[in-house]
Symmetry: C2
Subunit: 272 residues, 2 copies
DNA sequence: GAGTGGTCTAGACCACCGG
DNA sequence: CGGTGGTCTAGACCACTCG
């Protein structure tokens, strides 16, 4: 035979095939590592390599001390980055959403037939880290306190994304609801607009990276799972000054991130 | 001590620290696996786990039979998704770029002080796969041939991204340069516009996933490295019909993908 | 030929949960 | 308590490069 695949990839491929063919269905537990090792006459380490490979495909989830399970194929939540309100200057500032935060998250989810929920935000205050200073356009040696609002967001009850919003303490003192560990009914963008900090534009950036330990725990990802997608948004006020930084960490495969330009058929944009 | 980290994470963390502190500099080879095993008094398997973890941070690269090397910190290429020309209808169709393809790739790279090069495209023709039919808005049972143009793109001589452009054979017969394994001087978008297929809008979607074997090879990623970012663009013509599909696979950490809305200070947009 | 990482063996012990 | 995957041992052999 010509250049046989390593055993661990053969095992991974065979399991993948069984999942695709439906022999292993969503929610099923895969054979245990020792069963697979016996069946394939390999050591358990080789099986562990195979399962590690499978986890990276995003089709299975390993829960320590329980086993490895086939994940259901869920319809992903579509996150559209374009902010229709922002693109239409005639809409009053009070009704601008800011895309992806608070009410906008629920509205988008419901339009797509999902139920969106979230925990109360955890508010913490601390000295700025270098990357935060850079995002706020401040010199690297500036001493400034940053307010972090961290929120866990769920779709149909399942962990979907983690959102961190950052503000300077200086701003938060003028907008004290930011310091409350409670929802801001109208959303950050509208609340700040009421106080005169209007978001006239924003810049989004993306990266993919392995999850941190707490993110892996929240999303139920064990070792060697998929990368998460990190989406940073820097919001600018009327003076072109960055006044809000939002970092959203998405669970892989549960979200579809999209952006459009020019004329795209409405049916495409609406179809989930 | 309280809940010590597993050894393999301790080792990874120590190496990471040495890289950050500069004890290990860009281009340096890390100690070999057996050296690390001896130094930490652990088995080589534990060291392999540690290096696997380190590779996921994107700071090192393992080259089989050579060793593990510290990667230089390169300034990433910024890919801006907004198409300024498309957003300005007064610009004639012939000069629209399409963002990220051919000339636009070189222009953007040079503006940021990089040198962009690419291989000649590899053209292949074959039956449509289901996801391609879906992207082109065709029924799943339709029999149609798809032309693939695959191009390897480099920044400063290093592998940067892989771009696959897809067209129906029907379209390619009306635009025969698409079937040539040569560059299209003016770019796909302009060439097709000349022939009456004007891109009036597009829809971008993102995902992060582990690299395929050939992608890992092209990017020089070995086992357990970072995820690649996949960017799909579906382009629509005047009739709202999708006529071009482009999939770009980006090397992680070498690219910064961005998008803006509303008014963002020009200095931010220009600053690479 | 020496040295490298990729693959693999044949286990071991542990913490944790309720299959 | 039994069974699970996470961590780890102490190696082995291989294909390949030339550090």
């Amino acid at each position: 035979m010509a250049d046989a695949l390593p055993k661990y990839l053969q095992i991974a491929k065979d399991l993948q095939r069984q999942i695709e063919e439906g022999t292993l269905k969503a929610g099923d537990r895969l054979p245990t590592e020792s069963e697979l090792a016996a069946r394939w006459k390999v050591s358990t380490s080789t099986v562990k390599d195979a399962l590690s490979e499978l986890r990276k495909s995003g089709r299975v989830q390993t829960r320590p001390r329980e086993g490895t399970f086939v994940l259901p194929r869920r319809r992903p939540l579509t996150i559209t980055l374009n902010d229709r309100e922002l693109d239409m200057p005639q809409v009053p500032a009070e009704s601008r959403m800011g895309g992806g935060e608070g009410r906008a998250f629920r509205q988008e989810a419901e339009r797509q037939g999902f139920q969106a929920t979230w925990d109360l935000p955890e508010v913490t205050v601390g000295p700025a880290e270098p990357w935060q200073l850079e995002a706020f356009g401040l010199p690297p040696d500036q001493r400034v306190q940053i307010v972090q609002r961290k929120q866990r967001r769920f779709i149909d009850g399942e962990p979907n994304s983690l959102q961190y919003s950052y503000f300077t303490l200086e701003l938060a003192l003028k907008a004290p609801l930011l310091l409350n560990g409670e929802d801001i009914e109208q959303g950050h963008v509208a609340y700040l607009a009421e106080l005169g900090f209007v978001q006239v534009g924003y810049l989004d950036e993306f990266d993919a990276r392995p999850p941190h330990r707490d993110e892996a725990e929240f999303f139920g990802l064990s070792r060697d799972s998929l990368a998460v997608i990190e989406h940073s948004r820097t919001a600018y006020d009327q003076d072109g000054k960055p006044f809000r930084l939002t970092v959203t960490v998405y669970r892989p495969r549960s979200n579809k991130i999209r952006f459009y330009a020019g004329k795209v058929p409405p049916s495409v944009l609406e179809g989930s």
